[in-house]
Symmetry: C2
Subunit: 330 residues, 2 copies
């Protein structure tokens, strides 16, 4: 098996800069949330950022970075442009040990980015310009690579790009033909709200595995209570990996159900990326023959490392962390 996980997601470069509240007010940045912005505004904000730091980001790409840190092999499908940020993204993915072979766009919008203003108390105000990421098309789907990947992992955010759906459809068909597993992360409760019917259709017809946090799974089934969401999954044959913040996670597979506690964290610094790193650990376990409870434990471990520092990618080697936690005993 060439790859444990192939992921399709938005290829974004995170651009971080320190800022104060006055900066947020001056530049009309909504504090603490994620706002979609256009190219003009992206270039204006970028110019205003003082000493910006760049790092490859994007939800599914973050998950693959975590998978590699656990010791897995990942293949990323996402679109950048052949520009400076695009090179930055590709270099960062390569440095992580990931395969990123999607052809770069030579025309159209610039490489997508997430301009993040970090205020002194650690709050992150995100401004996302999808840019080239929104131009992913069917020709970018490498069916051979998908045939060599145990799991195809898709970011729910992709549904925000209408023309990406054909590409996703092609990828799902290719992976299914090759007998591989299809996984979706619901990404965000608002995203679920926008594409609820489509996600339910995927769940019914295509998915082997769904990742969701409590708000997302409640949004999917339009219920106000976690238990009601759990009951709504009755009869579904796939694996649901549901995260519940400090309550840990619930893993359901048919009649098999596991409750895994969260790992203790001394101080929660920044929860950005917790779901991405949960998925990383879970997918590592699943593609290495581990039982579902241990998959959940690896996921919780990845999330616990992530929330103890700024940023959505691991700062330590997750494989060593997992070994210390006695989770690689198999």
């Amino acid at each position: 098996m060439a790859y444990h996980v192939a992921a399709i997601g938005h290829a974004l470069v995170d651009v971080l800069a320190s800022a104060d509240d006055a900066f947020l007010l001056e530049h009309n940045i909504a504090k603490g949330v994620m706002t979609m912005i256009d190219e003009y505004r992206a270039s204006t904000l970028y110019a205003a950022f003082a000493a910006p730091q760049e790092a490859a980001g994007g939800s599914a790409a973050n998950t693959l970075a975590g998978l590699v840190s656990f010791g897995g092999k990942g293949y990323f499908i996402g679109k950048v442009k052949d520009d400076r940020l695009g090179t930055s993204f590709a270099d960062s993915m390569a440095a992580s040990g990931l395969t990123f072979a999607t052809t770069r766009a030579t025309s159209g919008p610039q490489t997508g980015c997430c301009l993040i203003a970090v205020t002194p108390e650690g709050e992150r105000s995100m401004n996302t310009f999808l840019g080239a990421a929104s131009t992913l098309h069917t020709a970018d789907i490498d069916e051979k690579a998908l045939g060599e990947s145990q799991v195809l992992y898709i970011e729910g955010y992709m549904w925000d790009v209408p023309n990406a759906k054909a590409a996703i459809g092609k990828a799902i068909a290719a992976s299914k033909r090759a007998g591989k597993k299809i996984a979706l992360t619901l990404s965000d409760p608002f995203c679920v709200g926008r594409y609820r019917e489509e996600f339910l259709g995927l769940l019914k017809n295509d998915l082997d595995l769904v990742f969701a946090n409590e708000e997302e799974i409640k949004a999917l089934f339009e219920v106000s209570d976690f238990d009601a969401a759990l009951q709504a999954l009755e009869g579904w044959k796939g694996i649901a990996a549901l995260t519940r913040s400090e309550k840990g996670c619930v893993v359901k597979h048919g009649n098999e159900l596991h409750l895994v506690d969260a790992y203790p964290v001394k101080k929660v610094i920044d929860t950005t990326g917790a779901g991405d790193q949960f998925a990383a650990g879970f997918l590592y376990g699943l593609t290495h023959g581990m039982n579902l409870a241990d998959c959940g434990r690896l996921g919780c471990l990845g999330a616990s490392e992530c929330i103890a520092h700024y940023g959505a990618r691991p700062e330590v080697n997750l494989r060593e962390l997992a070994a210390k936690a006695n989770l690689l005993r198999q």
Copy 2:
């Protein structure tokens, strides 16, 4: 149906008095735990208590008091002596609206009591003298009343009294003959440690319902992880109602599983009796045709009321509380 629940438990009078640390040291009272004491020590401590307050206690009796507060009917089987504390216990049970018809002992040890020294910070140091409670025998089992009770609820602490086992065996046989449900609360992790094999035998052969907190169910299956305990219940046909403190409860019945969140509590004052009142709410729901998720919610509601004040019995009408929480909609 004459009664919703018949319970067998230790008939104890709680005797509470304020005390300071010097008092605990002077009278060799271990702070914050429950210690079994003998009759001599009970009378010495009782004499030393300043302005003691008395109230009927005992785990299963507390549960029935909660059941009545929810609007149910309860029948209590437990042994007191025909002495002042025995009268106090019987009066208190009657005032709660419970039926307590066990013949009082005319000889033998005095009525059992739990002498509780409450230190200024709210810590409870308990000293239990079982007394007459330890003399329950088969003649005290009223098979007719059990035949009229939907559920027989047994306190695990009863196993500390060797001669109570025959009485319990008779009660179980009578309830089973009448087609009623048998429920056991595991009471305490140390209690589980002492009678593990017997409790496992009961689970296998007699129980329809088991109540346990996280530590107790882990002790029963000798595992260190809640999920492992949950998996150990696989294949068991009964209902497991498992409490997890601030994580709420897990209700498992075959392949049906519910996760119910705890109700928020402004300030936890005293967790004594939380398990008793959880059982009260759960049993009320179960004996009133509610679904298992709502049974769990009623249990969590009862526990949340209990831990917000001193003492193991409800201070408000739980039926009104449940109505406000929209749990009596059926």
